[in-house]
């Protein structure tokens, strides 16, 4: 399976106003390949969003190496990174982050404004198709504040997917939704990602959401641990330990395309 992003020994440190260093991420190794559905679970403030920003080319590591489609990200300039992000990565946020005052359709069109050629010229048509796929074709002209939470997140999903990204990054996609709506949104996200053969990385503090992924990790104090399907710390997903886990665990893990090397 083609590797989309690979993180090796990635560290992210910020300097606090009192000159103290805060280590948000420490020595993260992670590989995301096409078609993966990966969940990263962790408490608030453990560095989940920072990890997602690194995966989505919004941030660069303090130390270690990130390769995006085989190219070290530090070798890619800011604008090229932005273009690569636009064409390859789709973001889904916890608060939906729909642009206010614009209809559902206009929101889905927004990423296409940064596309080139045919995608830009056919933006309306593509956006309508995408809204149709998330079941909101009938509400294309509706403003976000007139949509329910679940509908807003579906618009956000349509917006994240309209440029057919190869990597979908979802930051607490169900965090602002009730359990049932959250489940249907996750099912939709999972389905659409599978249909378009995109990798899906979900960040969540909800173990039910994490359980839907084919592989999951726990981020704790900036360190990434692999999990088994029960949401408890697992072991390295390779070698004899993996076979043991697969044979004993009730929820079989997906193909070991996401692995942790520690």
């Amino acid at each position: 399976m083609e590797s989309l992003v690979s993180l090796r020994g990635v560290t992210r440190t910020v300097v606090l106003p009192d000159d103290q260093k805060l280590h948000i991420l420490r020595g993260i190794d992670l590989e995301v390949s096409a078609g993966d559905h990966t969940a990263i679970i962790g408490r608030s403030g453990c560095g989940k969003s920072t990890l997602l920003n690194l995966l989505g080319l919004l941030d660069v590591p303090t130390d270690g190496e990130i390769q995006f489609l085989g190219t070290p990200v530090l070798q890619i300039g800011g604008n090229a990174r932005a273009r690569l992000r636009g064409s390859t990565v789709g973001f889904v946020f916890q608060q939906f982050n729909l642009l206010p005052g614009r209809s559902a359709l206009d929101n889905v069109i927004t990423p296409l404004l940064y596309a080139r050629g045919r995608d830009f010229l056919r933006r309306r048509e593509l956006a309508m198709d995408m809204l149709d796929r998330v079941g909101l074709a009938g509400r294309a002209r509706t403003m976000p504040n007139m949509l329910s939470g679940g509908e807003q997140q579906r618009v956000a999903i349509a917006r994240a997917l309209v440029r057919r990204p190869r990597l979908i990054l979802a930051d607490e996609p169900t965090g602002a939704l009730d359990v049932e709506t959250g489940q249907s949104v996750m099912a939709l996200l999972d389905q659409v990602a599978t249909e378009s053969a995109a990798a899906l990385v979900t960040i969540t503090h909800d173990s039910n959401v994490a359980a839907l992924a084919r592989s999951s990790f726990r981020l704790d104090s900036g360190v990434l641990h692999p999990l088994d399907g029960q949401g408890t710390p697992g072991v390295a997903l390779s070698g004899p330990a993996l076979s043991a886990l697969v044979s004993s665990g009730p929820a079989p893990l997906g193909p070991p395309s996401s692995e942790v090397r520690r």
Partner: protein
């Protein structure tokens, strides 16, 4: 190309959404553009009007008025020879005598004194006389037995507005009565002006008109006026020693554009108003950019480069002020081309000039410039937005 197009689409979308805010900010810009453009347009119209009325009295640019005066009046015949030799030597195409006299005319309602202007056919060209009807003198009009006259509208009215095709005659009154024929009518110089008539110098001589003073005008090229003035002065001084020689520009442009200072002051004020509009626009843009930090972050996450964010925020301002500029220019055109304003600003004109393109371009250009300036600073702020901070919740 697609990049620019999509930036325009984005800017237009942004404007559509924030229309009330933008409209308020733009009102100032549109008004000042309208003021600026109107000042230039009205100034242009006033200048044209002023030019037309000055040309009627002083001749067009550059007209040299020649005169020879002294303790005794020079011999008119000799003077004419001298003037004619100047015309021949310098190849002057249009020249004219200009003398004034009072001449009573017999009108249907009685005798009335008329200002008689004694001229040559060149006078009509030099003073750009526009005729309401009929025609100006041709060179063979001097041969007529009944002298031809071109009259003012007041004269024409006093004569009972006869049909010019019938070659209407008006008799002069006084010691020597003679019949004159009206061949053309010019508008009054100012409302309620007394009746005036132009007559050719040869005909005036025949009629025995007693001229008061007199000068000779020549129309020369602008650039040559100064040089010719000196040369002609020297020529005349040689022929008429011990006399006072005059060879000076008399036209309105002799001392530069007389309207320029006024226009500069009013234009300056409009410029200041535009600056205030720009500051208002800048203020609102700065506030909105801060309020839009999250949206900018979201756009960055969709792949907007910093260049696109800069262009987007700036174009928003430019597109908005361009629309405001267009509205301002349209208001200015409506003001300047309004018949009431035209008749008040340029009463001397019978045909008004078209709206000056340079005034429209100036207004529109100023608006776009204001938009670019007022957009650049918030655009720089927008580029510095940290994506991660912006999309945090």
């Amino acid at each position: 190309m697609i990049g620019f197009m999509s930036a325009m689409v984005e800017a237009w979308q942004e404007l559509r959404i924030n229309k009330v805010r933008i409209l308020l900010a733009l009102l100032g810009v549109a008004l000042s553009v309208a003021a600026l453009t109107s000042v230039v347009g009205v100034g242009n119209l006033a200048r044209e009007g002023f030019k037309a009325s000055s040309e009627r009295t002083g001749g067009r640019s550059a007209t040299l008025a020649l005169g020879v005066n002294g303790p005794t009046q020079p011999d008119p015949a000799r003077l004419d020879v001298a003037y004619q030799s100047i015309v021949d030597r310098y190849g002057i195409a249009f020249s004219s005598h200009e003398g004034h006299a009072e001449q009573p005319f017999q009108f249907p309602r009685g005798v009335q004194s008329v200002q008689l202007v004694v001229v040559d056919p060149g006078y009509g060209v030099i003073h750009r006389l526009e005729l309401q009807q009929g025609s100006w003198f041709a060179s063979d009009d001097e041969q007529r037995l009944a002298p031809a006259v071109v009259v003012s509208e007041a004269f024409y009215n006093a004569a009972g507005r006869p049909d010019l095709a019938l070659q209407p005659g008006v008799k002069t009154a006084g010691e020597q009565e003679s019949n004159t024929v009206i061949i053309g009518v010019v508008p009054n110089t100012w409302p309620d002006a007394p009746p005036t008539a132009y007559i050719l110098s040869g005909a005036a001589k025949q009629m025995g008109v007693n001229q008061l003073g007199g000068q000779f005008s020549v129309w020369v090229q602008d650039g040559q006026a100064e040089m010719l003035s000196a040369a002609i002065q020297a020529d005349l001084a040689q022929q008429f020693p011990e006399m006072n020689i005059m060879a000076q520009r008399m036209d309105f442009a002799a001392h530069g554009d007389p309207l320029a200072p006024v226009q500069l002051v009013v234009g300056g004020i409009a410029g200041l108003v535009l600056l205030l509009g720009a500051v208002g626009m800048l203020n609102i843009s700065m506030v909105t950019v801060r309020y839009r930090v999250r949206e900018i972050g979201i756009r960055r996450s969709f792949g907007a480069t910093s260049g696109r964010i800069f262009l987007g925020v700036m174009m928003e301002s430019v597109v908005a002020t361009a629309v405001a500029g267009l509205a301002g220019v349209m208001v200015a055109v409506a003001v300047v081309k309004h018949p009431w304003i035209q008749s008040k600003v340029a009463p001397a004109l019978s045909q008004y000039p078209p709206f000056p393109i340079e005034a429209a371009m100036l207004g529109f250009g100023a608006a776009v410039l204001v938009g670019a300036l007022a957009g650049a600073i918030p655009a720089l702020v927008a580029v510095r937005v940290k994506v991660i901070d912006a999309i945090r919740f």
